[in-house]
Amino acid sequence: METVLKIFRGDGTAGAFRDYTVPLQPGMVVLDAVHWVQAHQASDLACRWNCKAGRCGSCSAEVNGKPRLMCMTRMDHFPPGEAITLAPMKAFPVLKDLVCDVSWNYGVNRRIPAFRPRPPEPDGTWRMQQDDIDRVQEFRKCIECFLCQDVCHVLRDHDRKDQFAGPRFLVRLAGLEMHPLDAASRTAHLKEEAGIGFCNITKCCTEVCPESIHITDNAIIPLKERVVDDFYDPLRRLWRRLRGTS
């Protein structure tokens, strides 16, 4: 059994999809097929990968138009005999073939206000209960594959990289903001710099997350509610004014 991979070949200035015929093996994943093409037909084909186990988040690409990890996408997932399209993530500049320049993300990450622990207890230590951190542990599952950033229409279609941090960093912000030991408030950052209002909660990020993080329900919406507390809720504003804490 063979199948045809239509792989994007090119860089940031030009490119096209080229066909490669690949023999199918039982249990084969898309990344295996790409490696087969590299080994037998196109040694200059560029693709990023590290773990081949869905852990490192390097092998993100668009398989038949859907953002996926190539190492976690089995070839038998697709109807036999139909060509499979493989393209780099659309939301980021292409460096070569399937490799994108995702460095914009690291800049966004650096601007997030860091963890600021509250004062320690009298014995000089900090204690947390499991109940307090269950919620933020979900966010720590993130493998930084940036598939959610790729699929988010605010970045992908509207190209608001200057105004919106994207779902991956809203997840990181949620992990810090809801941390039981953290004393900093990031709601102003969320509203202004991270641009949480640009998210219209259409949930594509949640649909593609390979770690099944409930990005929209557990991170973004709770953060939106916290921003409402501090900036949009008129009664809370009045209350703060009356207590002189605004």
């Binding site: 994007f8 090119g10 860089d11 940031g12 200035t13 030009a14 490119g15 096209a16 999809f17 668009e62 038949n64 138009g65 859907k66 953002p67 139909e82 399209t85 393209a87 659309k90 939301a91 980021f92 500049p93 292409v94 209960q129 109940d131 307090d132 699929v151 229409h153 605010v154 992908r156 279609d157 509207h158 190209d159 919106f164 903001e177 941390h179 039981p180 953290d182 641009g195 209002g197 640009f198 998210c199 219209n200 909660i201 259409t202 949930k203 594509c204 649909e207 593609v208 929209t216 329900d217 919406i221 709770p222 939106k224 509610e225 916290r226 921003v227 409402v228 507390d229 949009y232 809720d233």
Partner: protein, 250 residues
Amino acid sequence: MVAVPDELRRTGFAATERRDAWWVAPLLQGTVLAVLITYANWAALQNANYRWGGYLSPLYSPLITISWLPLPPSLLILLPPVLFRATCYYYRKAYYRSYFLDPPACAVGELRGNRYRGETAFPLVLQNLHRYLFYITFLYLPFLWSDVVHATSFGGSFGVGIGTLVILANTTALTLYSFSCHSARHLIGGSLDCFSCSAGARARHAAWKGASVLNARHMLFAWVSFFTVCSADLYVRLVASGVIHDIRLL
């Protein structure tokens, strides 16, 4: 701008490399939503056949009758629940996708380009007041439960008819929809950072865990409750207008 070659980045409405029928879900969702909204509006405007014996249509509950009002009072009663649904995080997702096509589906191109403001500018910035509509519609729940009690009264004696069950199912669905609301989940305990720091926080944590279980099914409750509201109204309407007869079960 993103430096993606033109060959790769086909832009514009519906541009995608997806092969599946991505348009089925938004089309179906938009159509069903439109049918339910049209029915609810039509029924609210009728101002007749909303009551039969102890049965009251949920679209007219709590029942107020103001004779001098130029509009059917049901429209006033319905305004908060309508706005509650219009600003609901789930319905927002549904109509942004199906009606605003923003996006029509994941990884599928959109109509609008540079004008996108999300929920940062008027009028959509008002979505941030969703919690106030939760507060108001929460007050409707006791009335809806009292409608269930009234629906068990047949000429002064206790009874159960198909209508009683339809009204009970609707009130249950609406209660689950309200308690699974994202704003409610925040209010109940989601706003806390430390769940174990005081007895009050521990109690709110327990409530938050319950709200989270319901919240995970919010989409289901949103759809089911919209169906039950329309079906309960339709049932009462058909019985009240004599098209069908209520069946007494007890």
